[in-house]
């Protein structure tokens, strides 16, 4: 009677393994680590699979032995079985076997550690400064003097070195298809390098618990062809299309300057704007630190060419008019706990924006696109 039940249980364990093997064939999921799109994630995937298959062999041997003894040696009578206390040879054997397995695994592992963690030559690499904020990502290109937020643009087939830091709490920088995570730690400068093999849009997500909306701290990595990447760099240095005076966009621009621009810079296309933005971001941070409850100023994502962004709210919603209006009306309706909602005067002082004003700001923000924009292929998801 029991044998059927235990059989069921151990069959389940085997089925688990089988279903695991089957399920891991879904690399199409946006954050699957099985769809390696660069050498770093490739090394990581291969190391995992190498260990995994060794583990599968051990699993089958051990679980098989458990099932075997459970069925084979069921009590049949009251006689005592042979009383065996141990066997030195066996003990030594099964001490040595795991030791050998570990030596086998450790060799590619140690190589993997150095391959993934020793930085490549900075000479011909793209350098990125990635800064974690509660709850968004700031991306700076110190050589190109470009600053943006929540969307990282990169060329294919080029080494990227990311200097990883955090302004406030711990975060973690992770692009599952391209590279495993590295934590973002205040006062520590961590480094990560990777290379993306193919153009495309990749998902990134914060992986270290960082407070109330840790779940909604995401980003996108947009990998371009070399040519498109150069074009993007150019665009980031080009002013946006001008808005005709009297239009909704123009009204929105005025409202933005009056209500939003002390935290959100949106003109970093200008010359020397890069260092200015670094200073502004630092000052906003210092201002907020002084009075975390009531500060009217907080660190905030740079909105230069926001109209070209794919998402809003740090990778949360598609960046379109409807969502943007919703976001400005009440950020909590999309993402609870944002600093904007807690500190911006439009939500906390008597200055309340009317529906029309909100729509005007949204229209203005969506109009922020480089003036000579070429139809960028990456914009179609």
């Amino acid at each position: 009677m029991f044998s059927n039940r235990t059989g069921l249980i151990f069959n389940m364990a085997l089925m688990m393994l089988l279903s695991f093997a089957l399920m891991s064939c879904t690399p199409e999921n946006p954050q699957s680590t099985f769809d390696a799109q660069g050498p770093i994630s490739e090394i990581q995937k291969n190391l995992f699979l190498f260990t995994f298959w060794i583990a599968v062999i051990v699993f089958i041997v051990v679980e098989g032995a458990i099932i075997f003894v459970t069925f084979k040696y069921r009590r049949k009578n009251d006689d005592l079985p042979a009383q065996i206390h141990g066997n030195l040879k066996l003990e030594i054997t099964w001490t040595i076997i795991p030791a050998i397995i570990i030596v086998i695994i450790s060799v590619p592992t140690v190589f993997g550690i150095w391959e993934t963690q020793v930085m490549p030559d900075e000479e011909d690499a793209i350098i990125i400064d990635a800064v974690g904020h509660q709850w968004w990502f700031e991306f700076k290109y110190p050589l190109e003097e470009i600053v943006t937020a929540n969307e990282l643009h990169l060329p294919e087939d080029k080494n990227v070195i990311v200097n990883i830091e955090s302004q406030d709490v711990l975060h973690s920088f992770w692009i599952p298809k391209i590279a495993g995570k590295v934590d973002m730690v205040p006062n520590h400068e961590n480094k990560l390098w990777f290379r993306a093999d193919n153009p495309g849009i990749y998902y990134g997500q914060c992986a270290e618990f960082c407070g109330i909306v840790h779940a909604m701290m995401r980003f996108r990595v947009i990998v371009h062809t070399e040519e498109d990447y150069q074009r993007w760099i150019e665009e980031m240095r080009t002013p946006p299309k001008s808005v005709s005076s009297g239009s909704d966009e123009d009204e929105g621009r005025k409202l933005f300057v009056g209500n939003c621009s002390m935290c959100h810079t949106n003109d970093s296309y200008k010359k020397a704007a890069y260092h200015k933005e670094i200073n502004s971001q630092y000052n906003r941070w210092e201002e907020w630190k002084k009075d975390k409850e009531n500060s009217a100023i907080v660190s905030a994502p740079n909105l230069t060419h926001f109209g070209n962004r794919l998402t809003l709210g740090a990778g949360i919603k598609e960046n379109n008019y409807e969502n943007l209006v919703k976001w400005i009306e009440n950020p909590d309706s999309i993402k609870i706990g944002t600093r904007m909602k807690n500190h911006a005067s439009i939500y906390n002082a008597d200055i309340k924006l009317t529906d029309q004003e909100i729509q005007q700001i949204a229209k203005y923000l969506l109009s922020l696109k480089p003036e000579n924009e070429t139809t960028a292929t990456y914009n179609k998801e």
């Binding site: 235990t6 389940m12 688990m16 695991f20 891991s24 999921n29 946006p30 954050q31 699957s32 680590t33 099985f34 994630s41 090394i43 990581q44 190391l47 995992f48 260990t51 995994f52 583990a55 699993f59 679980e63 032995a65 003894v69 459970t70 040696y73 069921r74 006689d79 009383q83 065996i84 206390h85 141990g86 066997n87 066996l90 003990e91 001490t95 570990i102 993997g112 150095w114 993934t116 963690q117 990883i164 406030d168 973690s172 599952p176 590279a179 495993g180 590295v182 934590d183 730690v185 205040p186 006062n187 961590n190 480094k191 992986a207 618990f209 407070g211 109330i212 840790h214 949360i316 706990g337």
Partner: protein
């Protein structure tokens, strides 16, 4: 030098009379009997097991589908913080302590632990510490910074509410209970073994208790240091971890995991000890490789100190540190593997009876193996950069701590229940309990491996629809409810078995160690006559002396009978009287800790209680001179 006051004569005035009765609520509040203390440990920690389980179910409900809006993000963060904290500090540790208390004196042939009142203190500090930590729910400010409490997110700068202060003070108080208990069991095991019980004749569970206790005594002070520093940061404006003032959040991670990794073995070694008692009993064979099992347990405990940074592979310690901790972590697989092979070899060639406790024990080996193997994949630090902080980790440590520790504890409950109570738990319900738990457990945690590899981070209260995580999450949620049903069946079993008592003899399983040589439940003095020990599994060889001569004679010796308690002169057995003082000190400590949050008036009252309790305790005679001894 002669002291002015002879402590033997001096006693502080008693506000409450010393409890002398051996029944009723006052007896339970003042008891120093290790068995009663063990029972209370068990009941209270099982209560927290249910609370922690409800927290887990709420988490699972919220994650059952994408973009769910059932639980607010703040509450979600509180739930996973308290689920982890509860299950580690208020469930697995004290449930193990319940077994230490019940079994260690019985297994080594002692009348009680070395310091019975200190033992009561551990219990009361644990109970009030656990209440202190959970009071935070009532104030609406439950801890929300994760059971690991990483600064800066747990600092007052970023987490200004009282939640994490409750958490850190609760841990500090609970640490006192653990350290006191650890010392108590070390001294008990070293000093109070029955004559003839050398170290290498000790039951494996007692051995694992000894190793666990040594780990507790060494590891919990490390947590205490971190806890005091964090209390300083949160309450008194120190800057140990405040990055804004140059403090280092990574510093916390090193201390926390220097405690935290030995803690993993504190949680699992007692479970390994229990399984090592149950398997030989129902296979009717001695434990295969007793010495190897003991030494690999000790080695695991020792090596557990050299692996802490494998929790920090993505922190940026550099390739040299990652290599060192990768290799040291992999090494632990060797003694762990040795244990698993020895357990299987114990079953090999045995005469196996699949009782509920045996099923849980075999289930333990099967599930713990999976947790161990996924642990090896975690040790590979380059690929761990993909798995760190994902659901793969969640799957891994639940296979170790639920499939491992909790399965073994359930096995232990079914195994020793007749010893604890004098009657059996119902086996049919027990097997149903096991099957449901096994299915539910795997349904809940196996898909999490896949979720993690598919890029789902831990500690997120919601996820987008297009991530492809819905099916696995739904399966996990259903599994969670199956586990809940299985626990419910256990509770029903407890009630039904109590009503329809199926009485158990002193040795109902034909078992091996000394606790089975006395009646069930044991008398409060345990042993009528302290046994003389001659072998490992002494009771087994008293029953089957023929085995010692290697003779095939396998009949039970008629001389080996469970101790008869009908004609015992209890006045000849020395046992300490009850004491309220441990209770007062326990209450006082938690009150003082609560006062750190709210008002110094409470700190004062708490500390007065502590000091009064300590002085009263130290001047109180072990036995009231004019009363009859018990």
């Amino acid at each position: 030098m002669s002291s002015i006051i002879n402590p033997k004569q001096f006693q502080i005035p008693r506000i409450f009379p010393r409890p002398m009765s051996h029944s009723g609520i006052w007896y339970w509040l003042g008891t120093v009997d290790h068995k009663k203390i063990g029972t209370m440990y068990g009941i209270v920690s099982f209560f927290w097991f249910i609370m922690g389980g409800i927290e887990a179910l709420l988490i699972r409900v919220q994650l059952s589908h994408a973009e769910a809006d059932i639980i607010s993000p703040e509450l979600y963060n509180q739930l996973f913080t308290m689920h982890g904290t509860t299950m580690v500090f208020l469930v697995v540790m004290p449930l193990s302590a319940a077994f230490f208390n019940w079994l260690v004196p019985l297994q080594i042939g002692a009348r009680d632990v070395a310091f019975p009142r200190l033992n009561a203190l551990s219990l009361w500090v644990f109970i009030f510490g656990s209440i202190l930590m959970n009071i935070s729910w009532l104030t609406g400010e439950a801890p929300n910074g994760g059971w690991f409490g990483y600064p800066p997110n747990s600092t007052v700068q970023f987490n200004p509410g009282n939640g994490m202060t409750f958490w850190v003070l609760g841990l500090n108080v609970l640490g006192v209970a653990s350290i006191a208990a650890g010392l108590n069991f070390i001294v008990t095991i070293i000093n109070m073994r029955a004559p003839g019980m050398t170290m290498m004749r000790m039951p494996v569970f007692t051995w694992m208790t000894l190793i666990t206790s040594i780990l507790i005594v060494l590891a919990l002070p490390v947590l205490a240091v971190a806890g005091i520093q964090m209390t300083g940061d949160r309450v008194y404006g120190t800057n140990f971890f405040n990055s804004e003032a140059g403090g280092d959040p990574i510093f916390w991670q090193h201390i926390f995991w220097l405690f935290g990794h030995p803690e993993v073995y504190i949680l699992i070694l007692p479970a390994m000890g229990m399984v090592s008692e149950i398997l030989p009993t129902f296979a009717r064979k001695p434990l295969f490789g007793y010495t190897f099992i003991i030494f690999s347990g000790a080695l695991i405990g020792f090596m557990g100190w050299f692996v802490w940074s494998h929790h920090m592979f993505t922190v940026g310690l550099g390739p040299a540190a990652n290599t060192a901790f990768t290799l040291s972590t992999m090494l632990i697989a060797i003694p762990t593997g040795v244990k698993i092979f020895n357990w299987i070899a114990t079953l090999w060639g045995g005469s196996i009876k699949l009782t509920t406790s045996m099923l849980f024990s075999i289930g333990f080996i099967a599930m713990f193996t999976i947790g161990g193997l996924s642990g090896v994949t975690h040790a590979i630090s380059p690929s761990d950069a993909q798995q760190q902080d994902t659901y793969y980790v969640v799957a891994h440590f639940h296979y170790v701590l639920f499939g491992g520790a909790i399965f073994a504890i359930f096995g232990g409950l079914y195994f020793w229940w007749p010893k604890f109570t004098g009657y059996f738990l119902n086996e049919k319900l027990g097997i149903l309990n096991f099957i449901l738990m096994m299915i539910g457990f795997n349904l809940q945690f196996a898909p999490m491996h896949w979720l993690g590899l598919d890029g789902m981070p831990r500690r997120i209260y919601t996820y987008a629809e297009n991530m492809g995580w819905e099916l696995s999450n739904l399966a996990a949620t259903i599994g969670g409810f199956l586990i809940a049903i299985s626990v419910l069946i256990f509770l029903i079993n407890v009630v039904i078995s109590r009503i329809n008592k199926k009485l158990a003899s002193g040795d109902p399983w034909d078992a091996r160690t000394l606790e089975w040589s006395i009646s069930s439940p044991p008398p409060h003095y345990n042993f009528v006559k302290i046994p003389q020990v001659e072998h490992i599994d002494d009771w087994w060889y008293k029953k089957y002396p023929g085995l010692l001569e290697g003779s095939p004679k396998q009949n039970k010796s008629p001389n080996a009978t469970v101790e008869d308690t009908s004609n015992v002169d209890e006045s000849k057995i020395h046992l300490p009287d009850l004491s309220y003082y441990p209770l007062f000190v326990g209450i006082g400590l938690s009150l003082a800790a609560l006062g750190v949050i709210y008002t110094y008036a409470l700190v004062t009252i708490g500390l007065i209680l502590v000091f009064w309790g300590c002085i009263g305790w130290s001047t109180e005679p072990v036995n009231e001179p004019h009363k009859k001894h018990h």
